[in-house]
């Protein structure tokens, strides 16, 4: 087919403005059988961006294990949904807001929280918990301290005001994030018995398209396509207007949207996220295979100079689009009005399947949304198969780190940004609003109680970037195994997973290899645990001037426990016997510098996923049946660090270490995987462990105010606790 090539500069300029390349332009022309005109190029630019189309990841995301008896929705909607079995359903998801947070940390992080909450209540679920996964650069890197302060402030400012508790999180530092921090927000919502899901599929010719919430302004125009390319030095200049989040408006939207959904007044509902009105309307129409008429001049504006194209691309926050039967409009408007919001009809559902856009009664565009949504490009980006064993491992460092004095090393870790408490962060988050929080951010998992059934939902975030730097398969396996283990030893059965895959450019085959390895490995572990991946998000192009971030597939795993009473604590108590239970896969670790700055030492082994998963499920039974009072996973910095963290009021006297700990250094190595259990009735636990053939060692008994590890360490707790709790402020 002959396509007229506009060789003049205008086309090149357009490519630049809309971030489109020649190849994709040719594809558009092929689909349209002509050149795009008017606002069409803007529509393509938005919907074919990596951010909206998932064009580099789609073929791989399809491989995810995403179905089991609990799953109600795991694709095609704003968020995944599972059934909890007693009439309740939950919906959860995680999403990145990395680029905006680097530009304007407070608003970037705040609108990240706002966006993920909208994805949840759009489904008809009331948000009941949030969490955040943060990776910052070296704390001495330019702007880093103010980025930390701004991001935490933004999450706090938004989350506290909408009134959804933050129950857990993850914070890490590494120079690969110096110019590209990660801000991933997680949210979970509940549908109580009898409450119906809301979906985004438009249908019913003659039904109305209604715009709800904040007025449209110039915020974030071209944001979606911006988010789909890497930072360069020029990014500073062509920044779109910063999107400002208004948590107060969001709160009003939550209440009013849930009310109209509960009264069964809407046919379909969708938040306006990336690429705003365009993506929400085109997706609703494409999913329902119906046409839509939209009169852009009826969209409520904050700035009267906006053009139709601006209106289509604006990413103003706190806006929703819904479809309803005409006879229900009045009631809908009443409800929104009661909550101080406006609901405006801007169009209707048409027969056929085209979207027709009008501006002051003139049709400015008519297009089949499938061209933009279904027919968006899908790329099989080149990648290599991961090489097994040591060849797959880029970053194996030497193992010869030396510990001179256990106490000194421990104190050094506890007062470094890598090992100190994140209390400075989470004390700024409301962790208890809703009055259902059973475990807050100070614990290794977050727990919220289900209002109606009194069961508990547990949440743990996964992905430890230092393991990803070692090897993407080990790192990805760990990003599911570690949170699953954290949940299991508190008695929470892993139910399902969401992910947020933060990677550099997919056009780089090495990065793509890590991406594919991560997806396949995560899926494999989820299958072994029977915990499907129900939702997620991909963020590519996390790199600046060619230097990539650590590939970071963050995850959020949700588990359930029969009750929120007597959950094993993170801390030792009086008269307890302490055990170390292990299933050694491989040994990693070294001193702080090695782990977080340079290469990390590790044995040349892989993780046996099947074996580890079944061990985790065994521990779940133990945690539930053996009257476990305390449990804790050993992670970075090994046993010494874990014992010191678990010792607040009571420490432990370890008179005999297991034979695999022979040196001072061994006290700081992480042997994946090990957990601590403390019980009052030792023999009972031993029987249970033996009956399952689990390897364990008795470490000793608890003692008030002191921690003793053979001849290696003998210390009072006050000093360690003080270091752990109060070092942040000296560092930042």
């Amino acid at each position: 087919m002959a396509i007229k090539i506009e060789s003049d500069e205008t086309l090149l300029q357009k490519f630049k403005k809309y971030r489109i390349n020649q190849k994709e332009y040719d594809m558009m022309c092929g689909l349209l059988k002509r050149e795009p005109q008017g606002v069409e190029l803007a529509l393509f630019s938005a919907l074919w961006s990596e951010h909206c189309s998932y064009k580099s990841s789609k073929v791989h995301l399809r491989k995810f294990f995403n179905k089991n008896h609990r799953v109600l929705v795991s694709e095609g909607e704003n968020s995944g949904v599972i059934d909890l079995g007693e009439g309740e359903k939950i919906s959860f998801k995680m999403e990145s807001h990395n680029h905006p947070s680097f530009i304007e940390p407070y608003q970037g992080a705040a609108t990240g929280v706002g966006g993920i909450l909208r994805d949840i209540f759009t489904m008809g679920a009331r948000p009941v918990m949030t969490a955040n996964y943060l990776c910052f650069g070296d704390k001495e890197a330019p702007r880093m301290k103010s980025l930390v302060e701004g991001v935490v402030g933004g999450i706090s400012g938004y989350g506290n005001c909408v009134g959804v508790p933050a129950v857990t999180g993850f914070t890490e530092f590494h120079p690969s994030y110096n110019k590209n921090i990660l801000v991933n927000a997680f949210a979970l919502g509940v549908l109580y018995p009898g409450e119906e899901l809301a979906l985004s599929k438009a249908h019913g010719v003659g039904n109305l398209v209604v715009y709800v919430g904040a007025k449209t302004g110039r915020d974030g125009i071209h944001g979606a396509s911006m988010a789909s390319e890497s930072f360069d030095d020029k990014s500073a200049q062509n920044r779109p207007t910063v999107q400002i989040g208004d948590p107060f408006f969001e709160k009003l939207l939550i209440e009013s949207c849930l009310e109209v959904i509960r009264e069964d007044l809407v046919v379909a509902i969708q938040d306006m996220g990336a690429a705003g009105l365009t993506s929400s309307s085109f997706e609703m129409s494409s999913k329902g295979q119906v046409g839509l008429k939209m009169e852009l001049d009826k969209v409520p504006l904050r700035d009267s100079t906006l053009t139709p194209e601006d209106i289509l691309l604006s990413e103003s926050q706190e806006r929703m689009l819904l479809v309803c039967e005409p006879k229900k409009l009045k009631r809908i408007q009443e409800i929104f009005h009661r909550w101080g919001l406006d609901a405006t009809t801007i169009g209707e559902v048409l027969p056929g399947k085209n979207i027709q856009l009008f501006w002051q009664n003139e049709k400015i565009c008519e297009i089949d949304p499938d061209l933009l949504v279904e027919n968006a490009p899908k790329y099989e980006r080149p990648y290599n198969l991961r090489e097994a064993g040591s060849k797959g491992r880029k970053n194996r460092g030497s193992s010869n780190f030396e510990v001179f004095d256990v106490k000194e090393t421990l104190e050094e870790i506890l007062s470094s940004e890598y090992g100190t408490s994140r209390n400075w962060i989470f004390s700024q988050y409301d962790q208890r609003v809703g009055s259902q929080t059973a475990m807050d951010c100070s614990s290794s998992i977050g727990v919220t109680r289900l209002e109606h059934s009194k069961r508990g939902l547990g949440l743990s975030l996964g992905c430890r970037p230092y393991l990803m730097r070692l090897d993407s398969q080990i790192g990805a396996a760990d990003s599911v195994l570690y949170p699953a283990l954290n949940l299991a030893i508190k008695g929470f059965e892993p139910l399902a997973l969401t992910d947020c895959l933060n990677f550099a450019s997919p056009e780089n085959p090495e990065i793509m290899t890590e991406f594919v390895t991560s997806v396949e490995t995560i899926s494999e572990v989820c299958k072994e645990l029977n915990a499907p991946v129900i939702s997620g998000n991909v963020s590519f192009y996390n790199e600046t001037l060619g230097s990539p971030i650590t590939s970071t597939p963050a995850t959020g795993m949700v588990g359930m426990r029969a009750s929120v009473e007597n959950i094993p604590s993170d801390y030792f108590g009086e008269k307890q016997t302490v055990y170390l239970v292990c299933n050694h896969q491989l040994e990693t670790g070294g001193k702080i510098e090695e782990m977080f700055k340079n290469k990390i030492h590790a044995q040349d082994k892989d993780i046996n996923i099947k074996d580890t998963a079944s061990w985790i499920l065994d521990l779940l039974d133990i945690a539930n049946d053996s009257n476990v009072k305390m449990s804790k996973t050993l992670g970075k910095f090994g046993l010494a660090y874990a014992l010191s963290r678990a010792s607040t009021e009571f420490g432990v006297v370890c008179d005999k270490l297991p034979n695999f700990i022979k040196t001072k250094e061994d006290l700081f190595r992480e042997r994946m995987y090990e957990v601590l259990f403390a019980v009052e009735n030792g023999p009972k636990l031993e029987d249970a462990l033996r009956s399952k053939n689990l390897q364990f060692a008795k470490l000793g008994v608890t003692a008030k105010d002191k921690l003793i590890i053979e001849s290696y360490l003998n210390t009072q707790l006050a000093n360690l606790n003080e270091k752990y709790k109060n070092s942040w402020e000296n560092l930042f």
Partner: protein, 235 residues
């Protein structure tokens, strides 16, 4: 039956009348602890329902009114300022003037100060940050409906969650509050710079109480403490 003061509610209970006290829980735009309070009140056998900020209510229909925490009007302008000027507050004022029990928690406390039902004002925490953590409180007064179940000097653990909880009033006002025994509870380790470590106060008639910490978040051991119960169990 019509009851005009908390004593009446109390008597009915002790005399064993089969009676559910009726609690009104005020919802402003942006209130976010409203469902928590309903749950807490119902847990202890009270009949609890929402009151809407735009509507006045019949003061005889309720035995107690709670202004829950949250971020009404987004905390814009000043915390509690916009809510204090809504229609429902006319009824709350009238209700309190009849000596009936009113409790404002967190943002509710801020609203009561802004509307003049309680003296003083709550300002930005000294460290300029929102603070969520558990604090030890000492009950200073129990001659009011809301802390009647506690003993004076009793130490209880409750969580705080606020950015603006630093109680401030002019010197002579603070002195008056102190002399009149209007201090309800104080912090053991003052987290926010509050005058006299104040965590909560009462009005001079002791029927209106404002408290920054959240007793509704400390009802059962699984929440971390059950010592907040007393604020609701008398209802």
């Amino acid at each position: 039956m019509k009851w005009s003061s908390y004593d009446a509610v109390w008597t009915r209970k002790t005399k064993g009348y089969l009676f559910m006290s009726r609690v009104g829980v005020v919802r402003f735009l942006g209130t976010n602890c409203d469902r928590d309070i309903i749950q807490a009140a119902r847990e202890f056998g009270a009949k609890a329902e929402f009151l809407w900020f735009q509507d006045q209510f019949n003061i005889d229909d309720y035995d107690a009114v709670v202004l829950p925490g949250g971020f009404s009007y987004g905390d814009y302008l000043r915390t509690g300022a916009l809510s204090a000027r809504t229609p429902v507050m006319k009824s709350v004022r009238e209700f309190s003037q009849k000596g009936k029990p009113v409790l404002g928690i967190c943002n509710g406390f801020q609203i009561l100060c802004e509307s003049g039902l309680l003296p003083g004002v709550l300002m930005r925490n000294q460290n300029m940050k929102f603070i969520d953590q558990w604090e030890e409180l000492e009950i200073v007064d129990n001659k009011n409906p809301w802390t009647q179940r506690y003993s004076v000097g009793q130490k209880i653990k409750l969580p705080i969650a606020h950015g603006e909880g630093r109680f401030f009033a002019e010197n002579d006002t603070v002195k008056k509050i102190k002399d009149n025994q209007q201090i309800l509870a104080t912090y053991t380790n003052n987290p926010n710079g509050s005058a006299y470590d104040i965590a909560g106060i009462t009005n001079d008639k002791k029927n209106v109480v404002g408290l920054m910490p959240h007793p509704e978040r400390a009802l059962y051991d699984w929440m971390g403490s059950s010592l907040g119960k007393g604020f609701f169990s008398w209802l």
